[in-house]
């Protein structure tokens, strides 16, 4: 067990007794929970950094602070380009922003702890305490390590502050992926925007989309604009159409158009439909990804028919009963509970609720949102003058519309 601040005062010695100071270590962040050291770096100046692979290390002599290697002459010249790909402990990880996932906060790594693990040296913990700072500035005079400020690297996420750096590794980071998207979004709201964007690129697409949905609107836009186009498009296809609409509506018209042209047709149609309504109307706060089914089906047929349509939408608690799928004339509503518990052979028409309160797409958003909240329903449907089902205003959207801004940022989104 050794702290990086101490290790950086070690020297390298080869079999011909040549010596060189150790300046940095590289690690493979994606290898296991405690990333192994992959290389040693020799020179201080960036122009002529030279490196040795970890396999060259013969032994570490702790008492004389020497790392014995086979041959120092085997060290490779590093270029600026090759340096960009590696993660360095002293130059990169130390002092950078890291996420302490146990406490759900961003902090800085004041020092790093390494451990020997059968022939390898692995990054085992980050020290965020103030005596780590003291250790570093006193050049080895002060050496105390307190256990309480050491955080296991297993629960630490390192961010480079460069969304472009980790493209190929998207989805590989298991640590951050274990948190629910809401918590990741909350963490991201308190990070510099480049770090937040990097966080999104670390996540697998479905989780990234969910996280993006839950960020504050300003942060959403900042992060979205930092993503590369391919990923932006993939996420846009996955996020709820109402949120995607609010996001696209704030882009330049030309950029918005190019995204709409390239999105999968279904999602593009939904977004274009929603974009037709001003933000202060019901249409501006509704979502049109709704589950609906024909009334003449029996319960068991409906369950079969809905298997596919239920897979994607966020809001599935209420299923709307319509005349036919094409015209979507609203006839009634049925809750998911009824659909699961009603006798198999009953027709939906017999058990659906026909007494539906509907909203008009061009009504005022604020007044209609209050109506949703007063009704204590999970959502109210939005229909046009022909009673065609256009979408729903969920209770989440209603809360977001009615609550003061500071509230709506704290309010958890439940349905959409």
């Amino acid at each position: 067990m050794v702290m990086l601040s101490q290790l950086l005062r070690f020297k390298l010695k080869d079999e011909n007794d040549e010596q060189a100071p150790l300046s940095d270590l590289s690690v493979d962040l994606f290898e296991g929970e405690h990333p192994p050291v992959t290389g040693l770096y020799l020179n201080h100046s960036t122009k002529q950094k030279r490196s040795l692979p970890w396999s060259e290390v013969k032994s570490i002599d702790w008492s004389t602070r020497t790392i014995r290697v086979a041959d120092l002459k085997a060290a490779q010249q590093e270029t600026t380009d090759s340096m960009r790909k590696v993660v360095l402990l002293a130059d990169g990880v130390m002092d950078a922003l890291v996420l302490d996932l146990q406490n759900r906060r961003a902090t800085r790594a004041n020092d790093l702890q390494l451990e020997e693990e059968d022939d390898k040296l692995v990054l085992s913990a980050a020290d965020i305490g103030s005596n780590a700072i003291l250790r570093r500035i006193t050049a080895g005079l002060y050496r105390r390590v307190t256990k309480s400020t050491l955080y296991d690297w297993k629960y630490i996420e390192y961010l480079r502050g460069d969304p472009g750096a980790v493209k190929s590794e998207a989805g590989k980071h298991l640590r951050i992926s274990r948190l629910p998207p809401g918590e990741v979004a909350r963490l991201a709201d308190f990070l510099p925007y480049l770090h937040a964007a990097e966080l999104i690129t670390l996540l697998a697409d479905p989780k990234a989309a969910d996280t993006l949905e839950m960020m504050s609107p300003e942060r959403q836009l900042q992060v979205f604009e930092e993503l590369d186009e391919e990923q932006a498009l993939r996420l846009l296809a996955l996020i709820a159409p109402d949120i995607a609409t609010d996001l696209l509506a704030r882009l330049q018209p030309a950029t918005m158009r190019s995204y709409l042209e390239r999105l999968p047709p279904k999602q593009a149609e939904r977004i274009i439909e929603l974009l037709r309504y001003p933000e202060y109307t019901v249409g501006g706060i509704m979502t049109n990804e709704v589950v609906y089914v024909r009334g003449e089906l029996t319960v068991i047929e409906a369950r079969e028919t809905l298997r596919e349509p239920l897979k994607n939408p966020d809001f599935i608690y209420l299923v709307y009963v319509v005349d036919n799928e094409k015209e979507r004339i609203l006839r009634g509503v049925i809750s998911m509970r009824d659909l699961l518990t009603a006798p198999d052979e009953t027709k939906l028409e017999e058990i659906m609720d026909r007494y539906v309160i509907t909203l008009q797409p061009l009504d005022s958003a604020a007044a209609s949102a209050r109506r949703v909240l007063d009704s204590h329903m999970a959502a109210l449907p939005v229909v046009n003058k022909d009673k065609r089902l256009l979408g729903v205003v969920t209770v989440d959207a209603a809360v977001a519309e009615v609550a003061p801004r500071s509230w709506s940022e704290q309010a958890p989104r439940i349905f959409s």
């Binding site: 002092d95 961003a106 500035i137 510099p192 480049l194 900042q222 309504y277 006839r331 008009q360 009673k387």
Partner: protein, 460 residues
């Protein structure tokens, strides 16, 4: 919402006459017609960015506030002193400084937009813990000094309004502490900002005092150099109070707070330039107003706030003292709250410590202690009996001037780091002006310190 014309929810939806459903009568805004996926649609949901005057108002913001914050107690004292002591002679410094100030502020704004991080964060990440500690000490000394000067200002303002500073300063500090910690600061901020509007009397006073405009022009465009230690001292003071380290930190973090991303930075740079020009026009008018009222009648020393207030007499006559007091109180309370807050923020950020006024005390220990300590130190030092108010205020600005080159070097190194700022990195012209500013300030400081040293050694 339209009035219900049918019994919604009381009859089955089938039974309702479709035509009876209210068709929306609300007029809705014209949308944006876009050709997309082979058809033309009218998109009313597009949020179009404001145009015309509104667009400018949206851009002007952080820079204008940050730079105007420079006209606080220390600023007013230094500009008044410069006007009283040397008349119009120092205006040329302010003209050069407008260019430097604008460029430096713009660099900080750009650094904030390009990285999304504050200055101390970047120093920590780029140069490591030792330099970060060094920078923190510099910032603490500089901002601590300015904080003291704000509380001195509160005392001076309240004495003008007839309240003893031994009562006013602790009360003002307590008020600031309470407002910030318990979160109602934002509401009060606007009142304080309104109070500072009094200082718009300065440009008016500058005209109404009927200065000798040819002398003003001479002072503005013909640089004069004097071996007088007081002259050089004031030049450094002017540098320090105009291009203040804390305004740079404030500018950068307010851009971060505003959420300006690098690809939207372009028009934001105007904000920094406009802020610099506006704030310096204000400063110049303070110099002119003071010179035209005090210098010309032979009063070359400003000993108290009451003397400084006399510069406003051409406009408001005998009400000058009270009005000046109100303006000074607003400006100092404002800066007295923002400074300790911004300093505590920046420092705890650099150390990765929990921060922000929304945290409870246990988690934000360092943040709260730092904030409280800065205020307490400010109050204690400001209440030292018989303190020469004006000299202290100017002295703090000189200290800022001395520390400024160090902060400028950090900013220059960071903004020229291509890995950090990419396409927003400094242009050649930026660098020439910034390095020129650095050289100017450093040499002024060296000349001043050298002069003092020689003075002590008894050579001069």
């Amino acid at each position: 919402m339209s009035k219900a014309t049918e019994p919604q929810g009381l009859e089955p939806i089938d039974a309702l006459d479709a035509k009876a459903l209210p068709l929306n009568p609300r007029p809705v805004s014209r949308g944006l017609r876009v050709n997309v996926r082979g058809r033309s649609v009218n998109l009313r949901g597009m949020r179009r960015s404001p145009t015309g005057l509104l667009r400018w108002l949206a851009i002007l913001g952080p820079g204008l506030i940050a730079t105007s914050a420079g006209n606080d107690a220390g600023g007013i004292a230094t500009y008044s002193q410069a006007g009283a002591k040397f008349g119009y002679e120092l205006i040329w410094v302010m003209l050069i400084l407008t260019v430097s100030f604008g460029v430096v502020q713009e660099m900080c704004a750009r650094l904030g937009a390009a990285t999304g991080r504050g200055l101390l964060d970047l120093i920590r990440e780029r140069f490591g813990i030792a330099w970060a500690l060094f920078a923190v000490v510099i910032i603490l000394v500089a901002n601590g000094g300015v904080t003291v000067s704000e509380f001195v200002g509160i005392g001076a303002a309240m004495e003008l309004l007839g309240v003893s500073k031994y009562i006013a300063v602790p009360l003002g500090a307590l008020l600031i502490w309470y407002l910030v910690i318990f979160g109602s600061y934002r509401k009060v901020e606007k009142i304080l900002l309104l109070m500072t509007l009094v200082f718009f009397a300065y440009p008016v006073a500058a005209f109404m005092a009927k200065p000798n405009w040819s002398e003003v022009a001479h002072g503005a465009f013909v640089p004069t150099f004097k071996a007088d230690p007081a002259y050089i001292f004031l030049v450094v003071g002017l540098l320090g109070t105009t291009v203040t380290p804390y305004i740079q930190i404030f500018q950068q973090s307010s851009l971060v707070e505003k959420g300006v991303a690098r690809r939207h930075y372009g028009p934001e740079r105007i904000d920094a330039y406009v802020g610099a020009i506006f704030s310096n026009l204000m400063s110049i008018s303070m110099i002119v107003a003071t010179a035209a009222t005090l210098y010309v009648v032979g009063q070359h020393e400003i000993g108290s706030a009451a003397d400084a207030a006399r510069a406003l007499e051409p406009v408001v006559g005998s009400a000058a003292r009270v009005l000046f007091g109100i303006g000074l109180l607003g400006a100092t309370l404002l800066a007295g709250a923002v400074l300790p807050l911004a300093t505590a923020y920046a420092v705890s950020e650099a150390f990765g410590m929990p921060k922000g006024v929304n945290l409870d005390f246990r988690r934000g220990k360092i943040f709260f202690s730092l904030f409280t300590a800065l205020i307490v130190i400010g109050v204690v030092l400001a209440l030292i009996p018989n303190i020469p108010v004006m000299q202290l205020l100017v002295g703090v600005q000189v200290l800022n001037g001395v520390l400024l080159p160090i902060v400028l070097v950090f900013i220059l190194l960071l903004i020229n780091d291509k890995n950090l700022t990419r396409e927003l990195k400094n242009t050649k012209l930026n660098n020439i002006i910034a390095v020129g500013t650095l050289v100017l300030i450093t040499s002024a400081v060296v000349v001043m310190l050298g002069g003092q040293l020689l003075g002590w050694l008894g050579i001069m």
